[in-house]
């Protein structure tokens, strides 16, 4: 198995709060990694550092051969690392179709800036069409994103990340704010899409059943450091994890509090 993404000794602190302390992770291609931990444990900070929204105080992030630590989000995206957001970031006045077309269009007109623009199969319109079907959003095609129900917004948010053809996809609490009975449907859909395009996935999740069911590997965060890393079964049984993470997570539920 080859490593696609590697974080080396990441540290980040906001004033007194330590959001990341000596994070070392190597992610293998096509793996599905779950990030768990109570709120403020540093999961989103990790994603924000990988995607260039935050610069680590020290340490580096390597994607393939390339050190992407100093790059801006859009450059990192062009290299093939995309993300979705805990609170969906959509173009509210544009229709679902247009929301996706923006992404596809950026790839289509991006030219050499993109790691591999040729991956765009068919015309942008066709591309959007297939995404709409894959995430069965076709029914909402012409609705402005602003009026969609939360579940659909989440889905669109992820679909938009997929629209720019990632090699690595980071999902920040994909199922938060999604009703319990929709969660699995949503995750199934995402995972199909992901497998079809051989995308490596890291996702932050509070629902341990989801974690159990979809991940090959789990990283448990606590106070900015990784306290456990391994097979889901193993990690979730780890006493420390039980003490500091899952117990807390069950109590914490959906984890709708502001991410850190």
């Amino acid at each position: 198995m080859t490593v696609v993404l590697e974080a080396k000794g990441l540290n980040k602190s906001f004033g007194a709060v330590t959001a990341a302390a000596d994070i070392n992770v190597a992610v293998e291609r096509d793996s599905v990694v779950g990030l768990i931990g109570s709120n403020g444990a540093g999961k989103t900070t990790f994603i924000n550092m990988v995607t260039g929204y935050l610069k680590p105080s020290s340490g580096s992030i390597v994607f393939g051969e390339r050190d992407i630590t100093p790059l801006a989000p859009r450059q990192i995206t062009r290299l093939g690392i995309c993300r979705s957001f805990q609170i969906p970031q959509l173009f509210n006045t544009l229709s679902v179709y247009e929301n996706l077309l923006v992404g596809v269009g950026i790839v289509a007109s991006g030219g050499k800036k993109w790691a591999d623009a040729s991956r765009l199969a068919g015309t942008p319109v066709e591309a959007v069409g297939s995404i709409l079907e894959r995430f069965n959003l076709t029914a909402y095609r012409d609705k402005p994103a602003g009026v969609l129900p939360e579940g659909v917004r989440k889905l669109l948010d992820i679909a938009m990340a997929m629209a720019v053809k990632p090699k690595i996809l980071l999902l920040d609490e994909p199922t938060s704010g999604v009703s319990a009975d929709e969660k699995f449907g949503l995750m199934d859909m995402v995972m199909q899409a992901v497998r079809a395009q051989q995308v490596t996935v890291l996702f932050v999740e509070h629902d341990m059943d989801i974690v159990n069911r979809y991940t090959h590997r789990v990283l448990a965060f606590y106070e900015g450091r990784i306290i456990a890393d391994g097979e889901p079964g193993v990690v979730l049984d780890d006493p420390e994890v039980r003490k500091f993470v899952t117990g807390d997570a069950r109590a914490g539920g959906g984890g709708k509090h502001a991410a850190h």
Partner: protein, 313 residues
């Protein structure tokens, strides 16, 4: 999705205007000419607004375009309309490219006020330049078109009218096509959510910069056309009230379609012209009230009347 008839309507309007021109009373022809010059500037303003930024200093380019066209004659004795328009495009493109480097970092009221500062500095410079007539400005006469003499001929007015119509038409078509392109579509995306645009791999600042240059060039074109058709230019064109009027008309018209700015400026100019005549002491009141009514009941601007009609259909 409803089909888009904008280009067809533009075509029809173009033919209609060109055909109707000679039949119109000359003052009406002039009114239309002026509204089209205005409309071209407002079109640029619309592009900016679609991108989520508003400039309170677009008079800067309106004025620059006019002076670029006007000073050609003063400095080099060139007074060919084609060359004048070209000069306006070049000058405004260069200046906006430079100022854009700075403004692309700004948003909201700060973008508006910084551009206002720039336009007022130009105003000050021109008022201090007595060689160009200071605040009185000077008269501009376009003598030839592609080398053919038009000044003094009886169809001079119609030619200027036709040129304006044609330029406005081309501008509208280009912007319409642009807005439908991938690059153009980013405008709305940026207005809605800059963060997401960056996370989809596009540069917000570059896009804003490009759109800013385009809107500046449109304003410059409008200014040059105004200089040619009005025949006089002065620093007032760069004063903040002029810029305010462009924003005013843009909001009044709505940013939904490239036709809106032209329709908006035509209605604005007509209202103003007749209000001046029939209620010289309350015409500002009339404008203000119209504005409030539009903002309250037609948030999409006057254009949303048409979209509503189409929905009804």
């Amino acid at each position: 999705m409803r089909r888009d008839y904008t280009l067809r309507i533009l075509g029809v309007v173009l033919v209609a205007l060109l055909a109707a021109g000679p039949l119109l009373p000359r003052w009406a022809m002039f009114l239309i000419t002026v509204s089209l010059c205005y409309g071209t500037v407002v079109l640029g303003m619309m592009l900016l607004m679609r991108t989520g930024v508003v400039s309170f200093g677009h008079g800067l380019y309106y004025c620059l375009g006019a002076y670029a066209a006007g000073t050609l004659d003063v400095l080099f004795g060139v007074s060919d309309i084609a060359v004048m328009l070209l000069a306006a495009i070049l000058v405004t493109a260069v200046v906006s490219a430079l100022l854009g480097l700075l403004l692309r970092k700004y948003r909201d009221i700060f973008f508006a006020m910084l551009s206002l500062a720039f336009s007022m500095i130009l105003y000050g410079l021109l008022v201090k330049t007595s060689a160009l007539g200071s605040s009185d400005g000077f008269n501009v006469a376009a003598k030839t078109l592609f080398g053919i003499r038009i000044a003094g001929t009886e169809f001079e007015r119609y030619l200027i009218f036709a040129i304006t119509v044609l330029t406005a038409f081309l501008a509208a078509v280009c912007i319409h096509k642009y807005l439908a392109s991938h690059m153009g579509r980013l405008a709305g995306a940026i207005r809605d959510n800059e963060l997401r645009v960056e996370y989809m791999g596009a540069s917000v600042r570059n896009t804003i910069h490009v759109n800013y240059i385009m809107s500046a060039v449109l304003a410059g074109l409008g200014g040059a056309l105004a200089a040619v058709s009005v025949g006089h230019i002065d620093p007032e064109m760069s004063y903040w009230t002029t810029s305010g009027e462009f924003v005013f008309v843009a909001i009044l018209a709505g940013t939904g379609n490239v036709l809106a700015p032209f329709l908006g400026s035509f209605i604005f100019e007509t209202i103003r012209s007749f209000a001046y005549e029939y209620s010289p002491n309350t015409w500002q009141m009339a404008l203000g009230t119209t504005m409030l009514l539009v903002i309250m009941f037609l948030p999409g601007g006057l254009w949303s009347l048409f979209t509503r009609m189409r929905k009804a259909a």
